[in-house]
């Protein structure tokens, strides 16, 4: 029951404290990683990656690194490259991601013996 009588100054009135809802912090976690902008995009872009092999090691490496850097910049723009890599690595230990990782590897395996 709130006291409504006008005691002049309004000191006795209860102050309502509203809990302000904060916008939850955006995280680079497993859901983001497995979303469309995550690994699927990386795989798509990797298809366009042309590495030259022997004799072009340095340019290959810088192209490879820039693939990852730009992909991470799109996926999670606020973190620096190395920080984002650490986050991805950490997310990689979650069960969901582990399962997905195994699947991605299985995609590349030759399907012979296991399919009867």
């Amino acid at each position: 029951a709130r006291r409504k009588e006008a005691s002049g100054l309004g000191i006795d009135e209860e102050v309502e404290v509203k809990k302000r809802a904060y916008v939850p912090r955006v995280k680079l976690d497993e859901t983001r990683l497995l979303s469309k902008a995550g690994i699927p995009t990386l795989k798509q872009r990797a298809k366009q990656l042309r590495l030259k092999g022997k004799g072009h090691e340095w340019s290959d490496a810088s192209r490879l690194l820039s693939l990852y850097q730009l992909w991470l910049d799109d996926l999670f723009p606020k973190a620096k490259f190395l920080d984002a890599l650490a986050m991805v690595e950490k997310a990689g230990h979650k069960t969901g991601v582990v399962k997905a990782r195994l699947e991605w590897i299985d995609e590349g395996k030759p399907k012979t013996a296991s399919m009867f």
Partner: protein, 736 residues
């Protein structure tokens, strides 16, 4: 200023009054007698009173008020040293004066005692007084080692001489106490140093390590230390750790390599060092200049970077024009977000041992003389005795003594190796009997007992998470391995046989292999010193074991396996059928529960399987963390990391462990990044080649197995790592 009126004194005014009156009653400079110091009438009693004040006011009630008052009254420099100076030669009243001198040392020892900052016992008083007292102690040290009137350190020994001369059986408790007092005095003087982070305002040359060593040598303290150390176990027993402490504080952080250089070589080494440092700086500046703007800072270049999906990113600054890599770096740099959990800033400098020491030429020579004589006479008796004391957990051994013991053993073993090298360089054709005895000089730490001790503390320090101690144990282990290795190459048949024996015993226990592999796998935030020690141990251990197992193909190791008692009982029933599982210790009746659960069996050593334990992701991460310091590593450290990565990638075929984006990024930047390794350094070429090979292998693997493009992001799981490396599943038949 009238200090008595201002009631802001930090100590109780009455205490100060008492102390001041005592100090003035002690004596003073006389007006008549040429300004010589004259003792007060009751000087001895006054000294006793002072001692009592320290004991019953400061120590009992855990304050530091008296020490503070004494520091401000300038007791040490103004009175005590003068009094000690009076006791010169053999006067008639020398007995009285020697008692007075002893009383002076009895006051000085608590005043110079190292201040421990144990958070749980510290009171407000401690926080109030410690900064002042630390400065005061530096003043004491300066006064004591630079005192012109008399050799104060030498006099300390003189005070203890009657007690020292007595056989151990005849010494009374008081004699023991005097010897202890003298050693503690030496320890305190050797130990006092400016605390880390404090800038000492006086002349640092007067309290530096060089000055200390000069004073110790000039006042014949080294001879005393040598005498006591070489008679350890006979005439001295409980003094072992204190002598060790004195030596520890004299040699800690001294670079052994420089110690054994001749004057000319030392000069050359120092100028080389300077040249190398300047070159390094020039290389650094050159690498900055590559991306430095060519025009003034308001030139206002702005560019657009086109990206996937029609996106644009704008960048400003002329360096954005250089190349794609620089642009990407610039994009990255402008981000300000930091992940919430920031790891503590990694620092290279170890704090507990203090900064590295550089010695003057004379100090270097004197310390070298001492080290050589110590190796010749005192090393074995002292360290064997200390080891025994540590093993039986003697009451006079404190916790930090263990760390010092391992540190010193490592230090002196390295010194011995350096000495041999220096000797070899000097006279090449002389493998006389002098050389034969050289390894005998350090044999005291190469016996089986020492290895048991080492293994025990390796385990215990690891389990207790005592990283400082573990670091020194690892360093000690490394040095022992290196010494043994040198023995195998000595060309002397006897030495080689002994070395072979040591190695076979060393590598016989599989538990050691496990422990070392474990340590290197589980590094996390323990600091650079620890990182350096554990990578060095791994490197040395792997290399020596590899060479040894190549030589001895049928090497056996003793592995421990846990089996249930029941299983064992069943086995015992069916005895004879299972030959290889029979435990070594057959006396069933005497076994207790714990023993019964463990059975040991010998099996053939397989180096490949063993090395596989060092190619796990954890170990790789440790070495990567180590290489992150590449700008500050010296050549041998860079070589160590290089060999390891080479081993992982090409010898043991686990290159996938290196294929992670952050590792590739780090390796690439080491060679081609904005702050690369110095191109003129001798290790640069090797690293460049290695990184190139790793990248080439990575690109090849990417083509073979496209799945790697996602796996590059993560640490590998063991099961998939094998597939990624070889392209087929590992045969997982459990050979238990």
């Amino acid at each position: 200023m009238d200090s008595e009126d201002v009631n802001k004194d930090v100590v109780h005014p009455e205490v100060r009054a008492h102390i001041n009156s005592l100090v003035s009653a002690l004596g003073g400079f006389s007006i008549e007698d040429d300004g010589k110091y004259t003792l007060g009438d009751d000087a001895l009693e006054v000294l006793r009173d002072l001692k009592r004040w320290i004991r019953f006011y400061d120590e009992k009630t855990n304050r530091m008020d008296v020490a503070r008052c004494l520091a401000e009254a300038n007791l040490v420099g103004g009175d005590l040293l003068q009094i000690i100076a009076l006791w010169q030669g053999n006067g008639t009243d020398s007995r009285f004066k020697s008692r007075i001198a002893l009383a002076c040392y009895e006051v000085m020892v608590p005043l110079t005692w190292p201040i421990e900052k144990d958070k749980e016992r510290m009171t407000v008083n401690h926080h109030r007084h410690i900064p002042v007292l630390e400065v005061a102690q530096l003043g004491y040290k300066r006064a004591i080692i630079n005192f012109d009137g008399a050799p104060i350190l030498h006099t300390a020994v003189r005070v203890a001489l009657p007690s020292l001369a007595m056989p151990i059986g005849e010494r009374t408790a008081r004699d023991q106490g005097i010897i202890k007092l003298m050693l503690f005095f030496l320890r305190n003087i050797a130990m006092i140093a400016p605390p880390p982070g404090m800038k000492y305002e006086g002349d640092e040359a007067l309290i530096s390590r060089s000055a200390t060593i000069d004073a110790f040598s000039y006042q014949d303290i080294f001879l005393t230390l040598l005498t006591i150390a070489s008679n350890m176990g006979e005439d001295f027993r409980t003094e072992d750790v204190t002598v060790m402490e004195v030596i520890f504080h004299l040699v800690k952080r001294v670079d052994v390599k420089k110690l054994f250089l001749e004057e000319e070589q030392l000069k050359k080494a120092k100028s080389n060092e300077l040249a190398a440092a300047m070159q390094k700086e020039a290389a650094m500046l050159a690498s900055f200049n590559k991306t430095a703007p060519k025009r003034h800072n308001r030139f206002g270049t702005m560019i657009w970077v086109k990206r996937e999906g029609g996106k644009m990113t704008s960048l400003s600054g002329q360096d954005a024009l250089i190349d794609a890599a620089t642009r990407e770096r610039k994009m990255d740099k402008s981000k300000s977000f930091r992940p919430p959990k920031r790891s503590a800033k990694e620092e290279m400098e170890p704090k507990d041992l203090g900064p590295p020491v550089s010695l003057t030429h004379s100090a270097n020579k004197q310390l070298r003389g001492f080290v050589e004589e110590f190796l010749d006479s005192g090393f074995n008796p002292l360290f064997q005795h200390v080891r025994k004391s540590i093993d039986r957990e003697a009451p006079h051994v404190l916790n930090y003594h263990r760390g010092q013991f391992f540190y010193l053993v490592a230090w002196f073993l390295e010194a011995e190796r350096m000495r041999r090298r220096a000797k070899k360089g000097k006279k090449p054709a002389e493998p006389s009997q002098d050389d034969v005895s050289s390894f005998n000089l350090v044999a005291g730490v190469l016996n089986q007992e020492m290895f048991i001790t080492l293994n025990r503390w390796l385990d215990r320090a690891y389990n207790d998470k005592d990283w400082k101690e573990l670091t020194s144990v690892m360093r000690c282990y490394t040095e022992i391995l290196l010494t043994v290795q040198e023995m195998t190459e000595s060309g002397n048949e006897e030495d080689e046989e002994i070395a072979d024996n040591i190695l076979s015993r060393l590598f016989y226990e599989e538990s050691t292999h496990d422990a070392i592999a474990n340590i290197v796998r589980t590094y996390k935030d323990q600091g650079f010193e620890y990182l350096d020690a554990c990578t060095e141990l791994t490197h040395t251990y792997l290399r020596i074991l590899e060479a040894y197992s190549k030589q001895n193909v049928d090497l056996q190791v003793r592995s421990r396996k846990r089996t249930r008692r029941k299983k064992r009982a069943a086995k015992a029933a069916a005895e004879g059928e299972v030959e290889d599982q029979i435990p070594l210790d057959d006396d069933e009746s005497a076994n207790d529960e714990a023993n019964a659960e463990k059975t040991s069996k010998e099996r053939k050593f397989d180096f490949k399987k063993f090395a596989a334990r060092f190619t796990t992701q954890g170990a790789v991460d440790t070495f990567v963390a180590f290489t992150k310091f590449y700008q500050d590593l010296d050549d041998s450290q860079l070589k160590r990391a290089h060999r390891y990565f080479y081993r992982v990638c090409f010898k043991h075929e686990m290159s996938v462990m290196l294929f992670r984006v952050d590792i590739i990024h780090h390796l690439y930047n080491m060679i081609k990044g904005p702050e690369p390794l110095d191109k003129n350094s001798p290790m640069f070429k090797e690293w460049e080649e290695l990184v190139k090979q790793i990248i080439r292998k990575c690109v090849k693997k990417l083509e073979e197995r496209p799945a790697l493009i996602t796996e590059l992001l993560f640490s590998k799981i063991n099961s998939t790592a094998h597939y990624l490396e070889y392209g087929y599943e590992k045969q997982t038949i459990s050979s238990h």
